[in-house]
Symmetry: C2
Subunit: 273 residues, 2 copies
């Protein structure tokens, strides 16, 4: 019997727990260490040098604590620090952006995709650039109110539907003006899997038949592919530890929404200023 | 003729520009230096030690660059770092919380006030504690979606009205359950002066005759009182410089909304990690 794999999952906050949630049933015979660098979030407003330093510190913590594989479950860290992380750790690293774009390619029936993301991710154009290598034209739409709405727990609230309808209508209009019709809509933020249902519902309402693609799910599938694992659908044996760099109470409370299971214990970690 | 006063105004971001906006006509014959520590915002999620270190660094920068008076135009920094700042600089310091609570006292016709603020400010209970010293009972209501809505520029948007109606109805219901009826509603966040109109309108709609008190305006008046200045209502001679620790373009664009005048130039400042 081979020794059990330990998978380190890293995000600036709670969002990456949607990637852990997708991983648990796909790679059940593993131990997980999740680190949310909550004291230093959001990464989006910081410089590339600072983000790379933070992400490398977190990656090394996970490696030093037994991870033999790393998942960067954070769009900003993947967009701005993936090469730095790969350079500084000796274990395989998977980010969220390429798997998401690849899943959009599989779902798309033409070359036009719509990417919903935070303002910081859109400004980095990371999805547009990766999508282009797959022959896709990605229209990136910044949706700054969605993360606060999800963190407020309003994932089925009428206000969420109103805001999302505005963003989607604007995005579809912008694409129409460019002669584009999206056949896939990629959720390019780890908070958005919690509102995948409303996104799909509103696309139908707005007359779009685009398929909704979840980058958290795509990332989990990319990890199983990289590990050459057979498909699994049980969480029976999976175990996990959570670390956060600030407010463990908030992490446990909000994190349970993202992971969709109780987080009994979160350990406080000091990575410095 | 006495030499011209230089007033340093500090916030973690753009919000404090509403305090600068209120100061310009009240103290027109002054030069202002505004510092937004945008690279390290939001302060709300960080520990007291970290916030105090950041705020002291910013305060000392302003003093070293000629400020002979300091305004902490940030609720979190005032709540958690005012004594540290006062200990580390040799110039007079005014925060936003005590002036806001004092203005609420002046406006209130009973002892019940409602304070609208961010989750971090509410968790600190800074307004409740200061209000108690004035004999007021402050009910603090966390309104986490208001800052993102203001930063999205949706200050007159139907979604803003929907969200605000929910928060205000909840707050009034919570107070009613405690036997309280607010006679003043204090805007306990430097972003909220931009939505003072909708707050007043919705209070009427919900059957409340409470007066809306703006802590930015109250803070500016506290500064003139501390300086023993006569009332003035011109901005003719006032000049200002702006510094931000990240994204000077975003600061100039969003900041102009808060200041309600063009910000031609913002200088990038590195205060370290």
């Amino acid at each position: 019997m081979s020794p059990r794999t330990t998978i380190g999952v890293f995000d600036s906050g709670f969002g990456g727990l949607t990637v852990l949630r997708a991983l648990l049933p796909l790679v059940p015979n593993a131990h997980y260490i999740y680190l949310g660098d909550t004291a230093r979030l959001p990464y989006g407003a910081k410089s590339q040098t600072t983000i790379a330093r933070y992400a490398v510190e977190s990656a090394k913590f996970l490696e030093d604590n037994g991870a033999d594989r790393l998942v960067i479950a954070c769009n900003t860290a993947t967009a701005l620090a993936l090469p730095d992380i790969t350079d500084h750790v000796g274990i395989p690293v998977t980010g969220v952006i390429a798997p998401g774009a690849q899943a959009a390619l599989a779902a798309a029936t033409n070359t036009d995709i719509l990417v919903l993301a935070t303002a910081a991710t859109v400004a980095s154009h990371a999805y547009r650039d990766v999508a282009a290598t797959f022959g896709l034209q990605a229209h990136e739409k910044a949706c700054p109110l969605l993360v606060p709405l999800v963190e407020e727990g309003w994932t089925q609230h009428p206000v969420l539907f109103d805001v999302l309808r505005i963003y989607l209508r604007e995005a579809l209009d912008e694409m129409r003006a460019l002669g584009q019709t999206p056949s896939a809509v990629l959720l390019g933020c780890t908070h958005y899997p919690l509102i995948a249902g409303p996104v799909a519902e509103l696309l139908r309402e707005l007359g779009s038949d685009a398929r909704v693609v979840d980058s958290a799910d795509a990332t989990a599938r990319a990890v199983t592919a990289a590990m050459n694992l057979p498909a699994a659908t049980t969480t029976a044996d999976a175990t996990f530890n959570c670390y956060a760099t600030d407010s463990v109470e908030k992490f446990a409370r909000l994190g349970s929404l993202f992971l969709q299971r109780e987080i009994a214990e979160v350990q406080l970690l000091d990575l410095g200023g």
